[in-house]
Symmetry: C2
Subunit: 423 residues, 2 copies
């Protein structure tokens, strides 16, 4: 597969129209546009339904078939010559409440651009190629991110999510029904059914590609994580009267605990990600020695063995450091890393190189729908640079050139994989 | 003065009735009693007015004169043989919203017990002795603590406080008028006018006396303080994607800054009090690298020179430690230490020793009305032990024995000072 791109793959990449892609991106950014330049297009809202309707219109204008499953995952199909499992390309259309114009929607529109490019160039494929937009990846409204990809891949049944209550009080079941009812003319399809492979294009959401001056990353894996909270308990007292030696100050205990975790997480290769994003102090009064300090731990790594080994040492480290305060660890959630199959990673990297685009391999620090789709079929991702690593932020930005380059690599990779045997 | 207690001073101490004092303490604890055993009797509330009415009733039953000034400071006067400035003894009756049964009210009722003991023993004094209850020491409702003592001593005019809005939306001016109107039969007196001396008895609000197994502390001084907030500013980012080396994590910056302050505040004598009571993180989301962390500094010491020298080094220390984050210091308030005159401290200590009560000298970590009264006349304080150093808390406790011992020392000291020349 990496012995150079096929003629068809080169032709597909060449047919990608960067201006069209950019104008579609900007048209989508207008749906749920915020005054600060960002986007609020949360899952299964009116804005999400509007975006789906616009995309459906574009697809039908090109004579492409649109279908939707019970999780409201939206598909646009370009048929192949043979009746084979499709090659899926896509991402998600929903945004964070204070999100940007590229996260998710870029991968959907790059995939749609691939279909249009193939149409424009009259390039046929053996397998069908389908664009997909997964429902509720962000989890910003309904706190069960990747609802669509998890239920499509069988990671969890859709029923598990139906009773989830959104931040606005709406139940997911009702929002889903409302979204499906809003487009009764769209063909319904079964949920799941597998695929030949899945490729997702996305902005990096980190600073590496920009810093390295590269156009493309072939994503090797999605980090696993462990998330927990530590509660440090001390003894409240009067800040003016209690001698320092007699104190059990929960803030000072938490401070020592975090310093111990910094040491435990030290990694010369800078692969570990360790973040204390929350600290909550009680009573949080300037002249009272803190009785409790609760802080969050977000620990990620691409290797399960590293996650396992370091996480196992957290509780003892925290307890020893927090003394004479007490410290308790509440484990909240964990996920094993997802490693993308080597042939898929190689295909993306080779496509970029063959198109003259400087590329590297990179693990993904964030989760993506591809993590779950990878449980059901060979999957992979490509990243394009984003400005200053900013994401989930109104200032999130990717250049038109980088957006076009990513779509070219997606087109070439899709053409290669659509004809390849992956097993 | 310290050449032994006079006969009259011994007689006054002997006449103190510990059971009566305890029953009056418990009667006052019932006014504003909380279900958790604590007291909510905030300044100028209905509960405060009820407590004033009860005390007024007790005083009148003993034939003692009750008067009140424009700040609603309440006085109970036992006349002296000569027309001289009075010796003042007292404290405050208001509590924190989740306060205890002893803070403030103990000093008022111990003073009232002294008046009753002198009545019982038929002991006359040259000067009048007056019990005083200062208005709004706590500042829990109206955030201008020590309103009564500051305006009495001339530290600040009463007008400065009249427009202060309470936590419940009531303006101090109106609450004051309501309190004064509630007892139109009480004689009005001018605000201020000075005194021969002032002695305040109080629970320690710290653990030292209990730990040392001592009954009495002669308070040498009230610590000065510096209060400020530090804001550490970093760069927000995705906790999963941003390499550690590329981060400007505001929580980590604040942690380094606090560690640097711990070093700066190190004091082998354990006299410095340094507390970080508040930390507020933005956006305080587990998977976002913190953009801002703001923490409070409460720094106290009995010596102005130490306060000055160490405080001057805080900003540079915090900035250096927080780098590459930015750090800014907002100064909020400062107060110079108050040192009680040596003869007053010596009189309290000698009275305790002569009564066979083990005593020590101790600086006060907390503020008290005596800090401001000391600007107008010689003042001093005595502390009695409290359980586990707890104060401003429903579990605040002092034993009946310790309460009685404190009142005996107050009685003996008052008798000594009422006849002494202090200048």
């Amino acid at each position: 597969m990496s012995n150079g791109l096929s003629e068809q793959a080169r032709a597909a990449a060449a047919a990608v129209d960067g201006e069209r892609l950019w104008s579609r991106l900007m048209a989508m950014a207008a749906i749920g546009a915020r005054a600060d330049g960002g986007v609020c297009r949360q899952a299964l809202t009116r804005e999400d339904r509007d975006a789906r309707a616009v995309l459906t219109g574009w697809a039908r204008a090109r004579g492409l078939r649109v279908s939707v499953d019970a999780a409201a995952n939206l598909f646009v199909t370009r048929p192949g010559a043979r009746d084979l499992p499709p090659l899926l390309i896509g991402s998600h259309m929903d945004s964070q409440p204070a999100g940007g114009r590229f996260d998710g929607i870029y991968g959907v529109l790059a995939a749609f651009e691939v279909l249009e490019a193939l149409e424009d160039a009259g390039l046929g494929t053996g397998r069908p190629i389908e664009m997909v937009a997964w429902t509720n990846e962000e989890g910003g409204r309904f706190p069960c991110g990747c609802t669509g990809s998890m239920s499509w891949s069988g990671e969890a049944p859709l029923e598990n999510f139906l009773d989830v209550v959104g931040a606005d009080g709406v139940v997911l079941r009702d929002a889903l029904a409302e979204t499906l009812a809003a487009s009764p003319d769209i063909e319904r399809r079964g949920l799941g059914g597998g695929a030949h492979a899945y490729i997702e294009a996305h902005i990096e959401q980190g600073p590496v590609l920009e810093r390295e001056g590269l156009a493309i990353a072939a994503v090797t894996s999605i980090q696993g994580f462990r998330m927990s909270h530590v509660t440090v308990t001390g003894t409240p007292g009067h800040a003016g009267t209690t001698p320092m030696a007699a104190r059990r100050d929960a803030v000072q205990g938490a401070l020592r605990a975090i310093a111990a975790l910094n040491e435990l997480m030290a990694d010369p290769s800078d692969t570990v990600r360790f973040t204390v994003g929350c600290i909550d102090v009680e009573p949080n009064s300037p002249n009272t020695i803190p009785a409790r300090a609760r802080f969050s731990i977000d620990f990620r790594h691409p290797e399960e063995a590293v996650l396992e080994a370091r996480y196992a040492r957290i509780e003892a480290a925290v307890r020893a450091a927090a003394a004479p305060c007490d410290a308790d660890l509440e484990h909240e959630s964990s996920m094993s890393p997802g490693v993308f199959p080597a042939p898929v990673v190689a295909a993306i990297e080779a496509a970029a190189r063959d198109l003259g685009l400087p590329a590297m391999r990179l693990p993904s620090g964030a989760f993506h729908d591809a993590l779950f789709i990878a449980r059901a079929c060979p999957a992979g991702m490509l990243f394009i640079p984003c400005k200053a690593g900013l994401s989930h932020h109104p200032d999130e930005y990717a250049t038109p050139q980088d957006c076009e380059a990513g779509a070219r690599v997606l087109a070439a990779t899709a053409m290669q994989l659509a004809e390849a045997t992956l097993s």
